[in-house]
Symmetry: C2
């Protein structure tokens, strides 16, 4: 039944088992006999479902997925052994019947709330819990060919919205009106609905339309441009600011397909671009082009950042690069996958050698207090011999009559 209703492909069985075996290897290195996965994104990665479940991965046996509800749906979505239960309290006995135990339990302590962790310690009578989130993030850093396929389909949604924007952005419209239309364009083109960002308070929208002043006001998120929003309760995204001629409209759009996120930004200008923004836009373009040319497997992320900053300094624009004042962020790129804040981070503080299968958004942007912003964001797949663009949507400024 689900087969005819849902668009996204199921995660292949071999893929799921490969991921679980890789995690087991990391658990062995760290001396963790048993892990419990409960966060929905990690559950999707290791079990192929986001239904409420508790996935136990013992180092020396097959994984078991316990579910309280929806066992039928889980059995369709996941290739793993599913055990339907009535209450979580049954789990301890079932595990011990199967000879699965451990004095130390690995959990996703970067996202699991304290009370939830305490509840599981109590259910399992395990006193020692250690964090396995870094091991999981490390695994998720390298995308498989199946994952790259999903990312490319997500890129199609993104490219569609970037393309349609030209027909919808008009003088005097509010950011909010453009947001509404482009949100619908993306959804109709198959956007999964929302995007995920890992961690407490990490919230995001699919569409960010910002313009002039609203590009320049820092937000709660660790991002260079997030907009002002229409309420202080969600202080990000489109506002009621109206679009003027000559000043870039910054459209930052996050595609989502079968869980996988893409994230690109373009500038749209009605009429002629104000001279002020010409140089910084050109520098952003040069940075994207140079990075596309030289980066590939084996290159360090720090070098990618440093080459970029060299152009920025040469142009005398350092003060405005990736934010200004306290709104400055320290990175020029961030990993993409099931969450938008994955590894690698392209920053001088993250020593990471690029490797085939890494995927990251790369976003040289310039923010000028009170004036506006310009820049580009594209998504790259790291290949042995090059960087591959996720979408082929041109990086040029899109002019609107």
């Amino acid at each position: 039944m689900l087969r005819n209703l849902s668009v996204g492909e199921l995660t292949p069985k071999e893929e799921i088992y490969k991921r679980i075996n890789s995690l087991k290897k990391k658990m062995a290195e760290k001396g963790i006999p048993l892990s419990l996965i409960i966060q929905n994104v990690d559950l999707f990665y290791f079990a192929g479902t986001v239904q409420k479940g508790a996935l136990f991965i013992p180092i020396d046996r097959d994984p078991i997925l316990f579910v309280e509800r929806n066992a039928d749906r889980v059995k369709y979505e996941s290739p793993l052994d599913v055990i339907p239960i009535k209450r979580e309290k049954e789990i301890r006995d079932i595990l011990s019947e199967k000879g699965i135990k451990g004095e130390t339990l690995g959990m996703e302590l970067d996202v699991v709330p304290v009370l939830v962790c305490e509840r599981w310690k109590d259910i399992l009578k395990i006193r020692h819990v250690v964090d396995i989130s870094n091991e999981i993030k490390d695994l998720r850093l390298i995308k498989s060919p199946f994952e790259i396929e999903q990312i490319k389909k997500s890129g199609e949604v993104t490219a569609h919205v970037l393309k349609m924007a030209k027909h919808h952005i008009k003088k005097n419209m509010t950011e909010l009106e453009i947001d509404a239309i482009l949100g619908a364009e993306g959804r109709k083109a198959g956007h999964q609905g929302f995007l995920r960002m890992r961690g407490l308070n990490q919230e995001m929208m699919n569409v960010y339309v910002t313009h002039e002043t609203t590009c320049t006001i820092p937000s709660a998120g660790d991002v260079p441009i997030a907009g002002v929003g229409i309420t202080h309760a969600i202080a990000q995204g489109a506002s009621i600011n109206r679009i003027k001629r000559g000043i870039p409209v910054i459209l930052d759009y996050g595609g989502g397909y079968n869980g996988y996120i893409t994230d690109e930004t373009r500038c749209y200008v009605i009429g002629k671009l104000d001279d002020f923004f010409k140089k910084p836009y050109e520098v952003a373009k040069i940075i994207v082009e140079e990075t596309t040319d030289f980066a590939k497997e084996g290159v360090n992320g720090i070098e990618v950042f440093e080459r970029a900053i060299k152009h920025v300094k040469k142009a005398g624009l350092e003060e405005y690069f990736m934010g200004h004042g306290k709104g400055k962020v320290s990175f020029i790129g961030h990993g993409l996958g099931l969450e938008i804040n994955e590894l690698p981070v392209i920053t001088p503080r993250h020593n990471i050698v690029l490797k085939e299968g890494m995927v990251f958004a790369f976003e040289p942007k310039f923010i000028f207090p009170g004036k506006g912003a310009t820049g580009i964001e594209v998504d790259f797949i790291v290949r042995k011999d090059r960087l591959e663009r996720v979408t082929d949507f041109p990086i040029d400024i899109v002019y609107i009559d």
Copy 2:
């Protein structure tokens, strides 16, 4: 500058201080000398901002809001004393200079991840942390007149979308197409962007368009109808299922204004309603009408549930009420506010006497495996002498030619 860009009103200063003083009273009762609020929704409730900050509430002094970024924005949004810092590590010294200390720290342990809690214990050199989330939820249960105003504005967005739906739902359209259009209608009407649900893995959309089969497949969430979604990675919301004549289209829409959520459901039918759904819809209508008539301050939530279930049993529809089989949920209503899963919960398991200022969604729904669903959801404000509807949008089935 923000004044002209953002629509939502700032939370009044007196309101903020009243909330903080109420929390202090609860802390005193529980013997907690100092609390630290970091979750963004609670921060918005107690400080009027969602910018990244750490709000310390000592029982015997004024609260202090520490911020690393965006001090200017925070100072505009929040009436509290704001102390800009460079690093969280500075906080301990500043607190001790001000004579603020405590051996026990209250935190929102239902949402704060283990590693975040550990980091704060380390920064503050406090070993004993206790949960204050229940105290916070209790405070947030009763809405102030200011909050009710925001909820009513949120209801206007909801009513607008419910009204516009009639013009957009057509035979053979997919749920996804309708979702895209109605999402845009809501956003243009001032929807804040997204809605919040408290807790790990609690995710939701603004729009749920479900129809026939897709109403009947249970989801990860503790909700009667959430749809199938277009991917197993986000297994909720609209699917590519196409709309047929005679079978109810269930539109469950969540408005959001200045942080506050409303949540209503109506049935839309193209042509004549299939006889099968007539009786259950009538029972849902009777339940809503009777509840509107008799419930008010002083009535117990259990009684509200029991009166409803009496009608359900009389009609012989118990098996299908609020889901079927393992997809059944145990409540008929849930509290609304800054999050969609607030108190009160209207269920036989939650003994709560209704009080002026409580706000809840009330949703008698019937789900018939393989066939579809019908029902109604309205939002109520509890008054001394009655229940007040948040929107005045009629509860009848909306017929489309």
